[in-house]
Symmetry: C2
Subunit: 66 residues, 2 copies
């Protein structure tokens, strides 16, 4: 398993936290949002999921991975 | 039908807009959120719905009607 921390802009409330964590989950990884810190910690299996796919899933929800 | 405009604090994103409009709808009225203006325009039938019930529904979602 690999861990990476992404900086994500645009998350403003609990609904955003849920939307981002669900997007990461739907992409096959596990995400934990730090709303105040504008960060998402992603844990994923490198054999099964690419970090690019996780980023794309978050961006599809309207947030910017920077 | 009556119309009233409420000032609502705490709405930050499109998810909040949806949550507030759904709360108003579930209370039996019709709501339109102005996110930038922090306002909710509520249209309701005074014979069927009280504005207090609409306010309570919005506050139940975690927003402040001021």
């Amino acid at each position: 398993m690999a861990n990476t921390v992404m900086k994500v802009e645009g998350m403003t409330c609990g609904h955003c936290v849920s939307a981002v964590e669900k997007a990461v989950s739907d992409a096959g990884a596990s995400g934990k949002v730090d709303l105040a810190g504008k960060k998402v910690t992603v844990e994923y299996d490198e054999a099964k999921v690419t970090i690019e796919a996780v980023k794309a899933a978050i961006e599809d929800q309207g947030y910017d991975v920077v």
